[in-house]
């Protein structure tokens, strides 16, 4: 018999958590040198499955075979010994350590950082992954950090390389460069397990794809033989919702403007904002694109009032200097904000939805004589939940008990219910399922049609192209002049995100 033995074969893998079944009865096989895609939407169980393969999480059921042999992968060190390398989505790097120290700590051979440096340089040259072993990780851009992760994995001479949503932090051009590396590795015989929810990428890269939905395998297909629509049907179980309908809309007066906004970073490794200027008008959506770490958090803090600008006139709300106002005062002027981090920033994790409503709506009759009107808060929370289809165990459910999509709908709903003149939204659909994503994007457009000024900061270019009227790019703390979204595509905006000069 000459059937080749799969490098990795999973049979009947299952993993349940108290509140959710993450994986059930999963079969999957990866051949030597194969690029195998694992496709599924947020919450489908992809990450849990990969953590099982890498030994971070232990399965409750099923069998893992490595090159034909049943194997228990109890720890990441076990996985690396077998020849499995992993590139995490959020990067498993220590910020204050240098590149070489990070590599040393992630390898099982006891090599000193100094001894590793030449080997790091050698590997990085071979694959065109430029990294400097002596630099501390905090000084690296997101793309550079990913290169460090890949170099570290490659130094372990992997036979199987797992990448979890590797392009979510890359510009289209950088993603293209990554694909070149992956193809080179595959030709050298390295198996690649590529996790993504981006259909186009998978069609460009993989010969086989396993599709997960609700923690189960729903299909194993050749993605190049399937249409994107068919892949999407597998992935979400129904038709992909159409992009939100967005008719041209007349704009009104300038609601929010930045004029030469300059701000020092607050954290040691933050980004300095330099001379950021834009105008946001009533009835339009301005998208701010950019790879994270280019000043997004600083810009959002400066606009929301969580930090004050050095001069009041650097930020104008309805033409009035607002740079010196705090977050509460700006909210009084009609500004609402949906931060990126849902738990711990947009909401207090342990507090109920009713209490979390109070967080930003306390001026709307929820406080009387210094005391909280608890019934009114509960009622308001219930209204938000109804209007935004938030599924949770009632208004007394703790914020942290909600799924990502439901909590995001709650937060967006809470802010929209304030009837803001200006709504600032960061990463509106990050980690949110397809249904909630479509809902939230439609809501943003509806708000714009109702005459609000909406600012969307997102790393997801497709999202920005879908909802925005104009798009500007934030790069190393500077903002390019906005361009007309209808006249651009991901490719041309992507160039700006990588630091190319604005051409339009």
């Amino acid at each position: 018999m000459s059937t080749p033995v799969p490098r990795l074969a999973l049979a009947g893998i299952g993993k349940a958590y108290p509140s959710v079944v993450a994986n059930a009865d999963i079969d999957l096989a990866v051949m030597p040198g194969e690029v195998h895609a694992l496709l599924g939407e947020n919450g489908a169980g992809k990450s849990t499955l990969m953590k099982i393969v890498y030994g971070v999480v232990q399965p409750d059921a099923g069998e893992i075979r490595w090159e034909g042999e049943p194997t228990v992968i109890a720890t990441p060190a076990d996985a690396r010994r077998l020849g499995i390398g992993m590139v995490f989505q959020h990067f498993s790097l220590f910020e204050t350590l240098t590149v070489a120290e990070n590599v040393a700590i992630g390898l099982d051979e006891h090599a000193s950082p100094r001894a590793l440096a030449p080997r790091i340089v050698a590997v990085s040259h071979r694959y065109g992954l430029d990294v400097d072993p002596a630099r501390p990780v905090y000084s690296l851009s997101v793309g550079e950090r990913q290169r460090v992760e890949i170099v570290r994995a490659l130094l372990g001479r992997p036979k199987l390389l797992i990448l979890d949503e590797p392009t979510s932090v890359l510009t289209p051009q950088a993603a293209e460069a990554l694909f070149v590396v992956l193809r080179q590795l595959s030709e050298e015989g390295v198996s690649i397990l590529y996790i993504s929810h981006k259909l186009e990428e998978i069609r460009a890269l993989a010969a086989r794809a396993t599709v997960l939905r609700g923690g189960r395998v729903v299909a194993t297909v050749d993605p190049r033989a399937e249409s994107p629509a068919a892949l999407a049907r597998h992935m979400i179980g129904r038709e992909l919702p159409p992009p939100v309908a967005r008719a041209p809309h007349p704009v009104g007066p300038v609601r929010l403007a930045a004029a030469g906004l300059t701000l020092e970073p607050e954290t040691p490794h933050g980004t300095r904002l330099e001379d950021v200027s834009f105008e946001l008008r009533a009835g339009e959506i301005l998208g701010i694109a950019g790879v994270s770490g280019n000043g997004q958090s600083e810009l959002l803090a400066a606009i929301s009032g969580e930090r004050q600008a050095p001069s009041p006139a650097m930020l104008l709300l309805d033409g009035e200097p607002a740079g010196a106002l705090g977050a509460g005062a700006r909210r009084k002027h009609g500004l609402a904000y949906v931060p990126e981090r849902r738990l711990g920033h947009a909401t207090v994790p342990e507090m109920s939805l009713a209490e979390n409503t109070l967080l930003t709506a306390h001026r709307r009759g929820l406080v009387q004589g210094g005391l909280v009107r608890r019934d009114a808060a509960r009622q308001r929370a219930a209204e938000t939940m109804k209007a935004f289809d938030v599924r949770a165990g009632g208004v007394n459910a703790a914020a942290e008990s909600l799924s990502g999509g439901n909590l995001q709908k709650f937060v967006v709903g809470r802010e929209v219910a304030l009837a803001p003149k200006v709504l600032v939204v960061a990463q509106p659909t990050w980690g949110v399922d397809v249904g909630a994503t479509a809902f939230i994007r439609a809501e943003l457009v509806r708000l714009r049609d109702a005459g609000a000024a909406v600012l969307v900061v997102s790393e997801d270019l497709d999202e920005l192209l879908e909802v925005s009227d104009r798009i500007a790019v934030l790069y190393r703390g500077r903002l390019t002049p906005p361009v007309d979204a209808a006249a651009h595509d991901a490719e041309s905006i992507g160039l700006l995100m990588g630091g190319a000069h604005a051409s339009a």
Binding site: P18, A327, H345, E350, E355, L358, A397, E400, S401
Partner: protein, 356 residues
């Protein structure tokens, strides 16, 4: 093997049950401790818990000791909810006692009804002022309030020591380091002849009631809680972090200052070097065991007061050092904090993976 499983949401039932678990564990450990010291555990418990609470005198003493604990504990809880760690209540209490004494000595000849209110006012302000130092150092210089407030305890005690050894030493006091006995107008009258409980207990109850309103019902309390549980969310909502530090520190300082006056104007009747039997620290335990909620703190304070009386009675009945009270207090708090794991996690025993 013990292993923890995150609950989908914190358990409210466990949150009420863990103090009881902690009390039970403390009692079991206490029994073991008594046995190890060669004392009959049953007799130990009788001395510790039954003896003190079975007489009118005992009950009055219980109220006398529980009063300052619940008052200070509630004040501290306001801060702790905001993640403002005032652990210097002992020093703030001493400052309250000193300021109250200052007023009492200054109006030694007066029989005005205003002397006592004046003492309480001065004590409250002094306690708050002592707490304001770490608040200012934290908001202005970012200095850790845990360490500064604690250092100020030592400084307060040295200040007290200097006063009773120096300027305020009673000239007719046989050279003992203590102030003159207070005049009638500067003393709280006992409710009953022979019992020491006074109106200070009512002041404590009133303080707890105000604390309850602030913590459980007010928007101020909500803001403090947000500051403590999720500082970024507080910043997002526009709640002032510095104000949370000030309110949190001053609440504890005010309460401790008032308690300090109640000590010198009540059971002690003068300023002595050991004016507080550690109420400022024990109140920290009361605050936690009471779940940082005033009603819980009332019960926790009664329990800790009982431990104080039990320590005294164990000294007499069992010939054990009264310091055993501190052992019980510390054990109670450690058990409680460890048992709190049940609020967020389910504890499972056995292996993490049932092999298929």
């Amino acid at each position: 093997m013990l292993r923890l499983e995150l609950r989908p949401a914190p358990s409210a039932a466990a949150s009420l049950a863990t103090p009881l678990v902690a009390i039970a564990l403390t009692l079991v450990s206490g029994a073991i401790l008594f046995a190890a010291l060669g004392r009959d555990p049953a007799e130990g418990f009788r001395a510790f818990f039954v003896e003190p609470s079975s007489s009118a005198y005992g009950l009055a003493e219980l109220m006398l000791k529980a009063g300052p604990l619940m008052l200070i504990g509630t004040g501290l809880a306001i801060g702790y909810r905001a993640n403002v760690w005032n652990i210097g209540a002992e020093g703030q209490l001493v400052l309250g006692a000193i300021a109250g004494t200052g007023v009492a000595l200054a109006f030694d000849e007066s029989d005005s009804l205003l002397v006592l209110p004046g003492m309480f006012l001065a004590g409250a302000l002094a306690g708050a002022a002592w707490a304001a130092i770490p608040a200012w150092l934290r908001t202005r210089f970012n200095a850790n309030e845990i360490l500064t407030s604690l250092m100020l305890v030592y400084i307060a005690q040295l200040l007290l020591s200097w006063l009773v050894h120096g300027p305020w030493r009673d000239p007719q006091g046989f050279n003992f380091p203590q102030s003159k006995l207070f005049a009638e107008a500067a003393l709280l009258a006992p409710w009953f002849e022979g019992l020491r409980v006074t109106n200070a207990f009512l002041i404590a109850i009133a303080g707890v009631a105000i604390g309850w309103l602030v913590i459980e019902r007010s928007f101020l309390g909500f803001r403090l809680r947000v500051s403590g549980e999720a500082p970024d969310a507080a910043r997002y909502a526009g709640f002032d972090a510095k104000r949370a530090v000030w309110v949190g520190m001053l609440a504890g300082g005010l309460a401790a200052g008032i308690a300090g006056v109640a000590e010198v104007a009540g059971p002690v009747g003068q300023l002595t070097p050991n004016v507080s039997p550690g109420y400022g620290f024990a109140a920290i335990i009361a605050a936690f065991v009471g779940r940082l909620r005033p009603i819980g703190i009332v019960f926790a304070s009664l329990l800790i007061a009982l431990l104080y009386l039990g320590g005294e009675s164990a000294q007499i009945a069992l010939n054990l050092p009264a310091a055993i009270t501190g052992v019980f207090q510390g054990m109670l708090l450690i058990y409680l904090l460890a048992a709190d794991v049940l609020i967020r996690y389910r504890v499972r025993f056995g292996h993490r993976r049932a092999r298929a």
